[in-house]
């Protein structure tokens, strides 16, 4: 199984470097990361040698970048017909699903790793807590896994890339804003607090914020891991059900 996943993963990962839209998305992600940290995050006025403002924008940066990456994962295979070739090979649906997920997740990890100049910069400018920064990078990658799992799953549902892009972005936006306190406070008062809290607990921002202070909360790690597993399994079911129908 892992041998097949590795072979499929290599092909899938390499393909990202041939897609202009992904390259553009990557460049935009890196540029916006810098802009977010130094401009929107008021880096210089805060006078703190840390990357907290940089990481705080990650749910929003991923909301823009990851749909562009994941929208073609299954859609392109369906559009070109290469999905037919895949399904006649001696490989299982789960192997394909896992390979695609890991490839997309790895690419996001590569994109994130390319922000290392920011880390070097703040080490040059001050004396940051590098352990906290490392923990934040780890958590960000984990959160990215959740984003990717959702995006790849949505791509499995439609052969139209634009539809996958819009749907993914909408889902990410929803999962982001339900974690913003001012948004939750503006909800009608007749909605029980427990329900509002439940929604807030499944937000990317709520769970990522928890680690932004340098604390790796088990609940947050469990949340992202469960999210990934859930959408990988849903992805598999979508693909198998579409095969039955088609």
């Amino acid at each position: 199984m892992w041998r097949n996943i590795w072979i499929l993963y290599k092909r899938e990962f390499a393909s990202y470097f041939h897609i202009p839209a992904v390259t553009v998305g990557l460049i935009l992600f890196l540029v916006l990361s810098g802009v977010a940290n130094f401009y929107f995050g008021n880096f210089f006025t805060r006078g703190q040698a840390d990357l907290l403002s940089f990481f705080s924008f990650h749910p929003w940066l991923y909301m823009l970048f990851i749909p562009a990456l994941t929208m073609r994962t299954w859609s392109e295979e369906r559009k070109t017909g290469s999905i037919e070739l895949l399904f006649t090979l001696p490989i299982t649906v789960m192997e394909i699903v896992l390979a695609k997920f890991f490839a997309a997740w790895s690419f996001v990890a590569v994109a994130l790793s390319l922000t290392f100049p920011l880390w070097i910069t703040i080490n040059y400018l001050g004396d940051p807590d590098n352990a906290t920064i490392a923990a934040c990078y780890f958590s960000s990658i984990l959160m990215a896994g959740g984003f990717v799992a959702i995006g790849v799953c949505i791509s499995a549902y439609t052969k139209h890339q634009m539809m996958a892009l819009s749907a993914s972005t909408s889902v990410y936006l929803g999962l982001n804003i339900i974690g913003i306190p001012t948004v939750m406070e503006s909800l009608p008062h007749w909605i029980p607090t427990s329900i509002i809290q439940s929604f807030s607990n499944i937000s990317f921002i709520t769970n990522f914020d928890a680690v932004n202070g340098g604390l790796l909360k088990v609940s947050s790690l469990l949340y992202f891991t469960t999210l990934m597993l859930f959408f990988i399994i849903v992805n598999k079911f979508i693909i198998e059900s579409k095969r039955l129908v088609e």
Binding site: L8, S15, E84, T88
Partner: protein, 316 residues
């Protein structure tokens, strides 16, 4: 080597494949000929495990594809309609990918790829991106990826689609060479694919196999098989040629067919296999007809195909 029994498929209430049964053996090229939307591609997809049948059995050797799909897929090489590839890959990278996923061991991989590349004449385009390949090379690549693991059975869906006559000839020759030690199933809507390379053919219409035989025997079922075509110069002497020929005892029917203004073109139907050529020649000599052409017509598969399939509506 391949046995398909009572294969059926229903999609959304529509019976797209209806009780299809056929078999093919090693060394044979079995053609499945049908018009567009007759169910050929769906049948091929079921045989390759891409689609699950509603009912029926597909056996590759002793392996039931429903019971052991992974094992069955290892025995099959598939050329899908439309030749879908990963177009950003180079030819050699794509073949290496297929070889790896097909389980060919690292130490055997390069030797096997070299054999396949030589067989399919892809040596000159190995480093080319697939998106830049000409149609004929894409077709050869499609065959190459189906051959990489040396399968017992080749399923080829419209392999000559979009090729010019020279390219078609090259691909047909390649398929013919491959079939010597494999069982080949060829789905096509091109009559000449069947005529040139298939040993047996099934004509499919509306999801059903309506007739199965050799291409020659099917062609003999043409209503025009073994008829005579007679072309004479139009003149006073040949005015009543139809009535005269009708008097020949061995002739059952005479009909005029399209011709030039100064010619009479006839199709003559003999009563039996005996064709009265000498009688007609004698009549022509006696009545001073100027014969431009006299030939015995061999039936064509196209005529049989048209007759059979125009009775059926498309499946989808």
């Amino acid at each position: 080597m391949l046995r398909v029994r009572n294969l059926s498929k229903k999609i959304g209430g529509l019976q797209v494949i209806d009780n299809m049964t056929f078999s093919a053996v090693k060394g044979e090229i079995f053609g499945i000929l049908g018009p567009n939307d007759s169910g050929k591609t769906i049948a091929m997809k079921m045989i390759t495990g891409l689609i699950t049948p509603t009912s029926g059995v597909i056996e590759i050797g002793d392996t039931d594809i429903a019971q052991s799909p992974m094992l069955a897929k290892k025995l099959i090489g598939y050329l899908p309609d439309g030749m879908p590839f990963y177009k950003e890959m180079t030819v050699i990278n794509f073949l290496q990918f297929i070889a790896e996923i097909r389980g060919i061991r690292q130490q055997d991989k390069y030797k096997r790829l070299a054999e396949v590349v030589k067989q399919t004449q892809l040596e000159d385009v190995l480093e080319h991106r697939i998106s830049t390949l000409a149609r004929s090379f894409q077709c050869k690549l499609a065959i190459a990826q189906a051959l990489v693991h040396d399968p017992e059975i080749l399923i080829l869906d419209e392999p000559t689609n979009g090729l010019d006559p020279n390219q078609e000839h090259g691909v047909r020759k390649l398929i013919k060479d491959l079939a010597k030690d494999k069982c080949v199933i060829l789905a096509t809507r091109t009559i000449s694919d069947i005529e040139y390379i298939c040993d047996r053919v099934a004509i499919i219409a509306n999801g059903k196999i309506v007739v199965e035989s050799t291409p020659e025997e099917l062609a003999h079922q043409s209503p025009f098989h073994n008829t005579l075509q007679l072309r004479v110069t139009k003149s006073v002497k040949s005015e009543n040629i139809v009535d005269v020929i009708r008097t020949i005892a061995e002739i059952t029917r005479v009909e005029r067919i399209d011709s030039k203004r100064d010619e009479i073109n006839l199709r003559i139907y003999p009563r039996s296999k005996f064709i009265p050529l000498s009688t007609i020649n004698q009549l022509a000599e006696d009545l001073d007809w100027e014969i431009l052409d006299l030939q015995v017509i061999a039936g064509r598969l196209e005529e049989v195909f048209r007759t059979i399939t125009t009775r059926y509506q498309p499946v989808i």
